[in-house]
């Protein structure tokens, strides 16, 4: 099917080892609370500083995991554009992100491939860090179009294989 929305990024635009543009964001209490509410995560350590300090032993409230997933998705699709279709993500939480932190998301392309059913994929290692201290890593596999007429979102059933 011919599309009028042209891909922002195609598989052959991508080189293994290339870096994605970095994203820097100043986290506030509002960021943390917005993220918790947007993911319907009502647990108090994501909105109540006293609870976070006294019960969790952390310095403040902190970004929850599902909201970090949304941050990683946004970071990846800023790069790929709307044709990019997330297939699989693995997060590893190493430390918490607190109000007052400037978080930096950076990413490096780990591999490019075309699977058995002709879908193009890249894997990207994304790192969320604060002052170069790694807080969360995300290994992402995301489908990219092979050409201007390709659209990974059109794949269904066994034509879509999110895990290699």
């Amino acid at each position: 099917m011919s599309t009028t929305v042209l891909p922002q990024l195609q598989l052959d635009d991508v080189t293994v080892g290339e870096s994605l543009p970095a994203l820097h964001y100043e986290v506030t209490a509002t960021t943390v609370v917005l993220g918790a509410l947007a993911t319907r995560d009502w647990r108090p350590m994501h909105h109540d500083k006293d609870f976070a300090v006294e019960r969790n032993g952390t310095q403040d409230i902190f970004l929850n995991t599902p909201n970090q997933a949304a941050w990683f998705e946004r970071y990846l699709t800023d790069w790929t554009g709307p044709h990019g279709r997330l297939a699989r993500v693995t997060f590893r939480m190493k430390g918490s992100v607190f109000p007052g932190d400037t978080m930096s998301l950076t990413g490096v392309v780990d591999s490019t491939s075309v699977d058995d059913v002709g879908c193009g994929f890249v894997t990207v290692e994304v790192t969320l860090s604060v002052d170069r201290d790694v807080k969360t890593t995300c290994a992402a596999r995301i489908a990219l179009p092979l050409n201007a007429d390709d659209n990974p979102w059109a794949r269904r059933g066994d034509q879509w294989r999110p895990s290699p």
Binding site: V5, L37, T65, N67, W71, R88, F91
Partner: protein
Amino acid sequence: MTASDVSSTAALAEMRDLIGKEQYHEVGEFPVERSYVWTSCASVENGNPLYWDESVAQELTGGPVAPPSMVSVWFRPHHWAPGRTQEALPLQVHFDLKAALGLPEAVMTDNTIEFHTPVRMGDVLQTHQVLRSVSEEKTTKLGTGRFWVIDVVYANQDGELVAVESYTGFGYRRGEASAS
């Protein structure tokens, strides 16, 4: 320190008996809705036109879809609902483990999500949880406790697989790390 200092052997055996069993089949309390998609996008300043521009959504995905990473959101209940008498907790197996093993605090350490059929507006998703493993006792900088892995399987109203999410949690008691 022995395992029984942190959790009773019987409780541990009972939890381990649940490994591999489907638990907590649930149907979403409400249909997938666009307003919450925008709430999510706004929280992370996600300007992907797929979620904001009707014509892009129509062309690429045949109409609006939800960001894949939101899949678990559709099962987190609102904070209150009429007639609800118990606090509804998402990822109930996680809270069952904390309670059964006597581990008052917990954090999530790993999270893998595999995305299948896109989630569309109006979908009413269904889910179930499967405990995959419970570790031996471990001590980290947070305290002493156990790691566990829980899968959450999501499907739409037509039974199509939407996503499989796998969480690693660490339930613990504070302070025991420094005492040992």
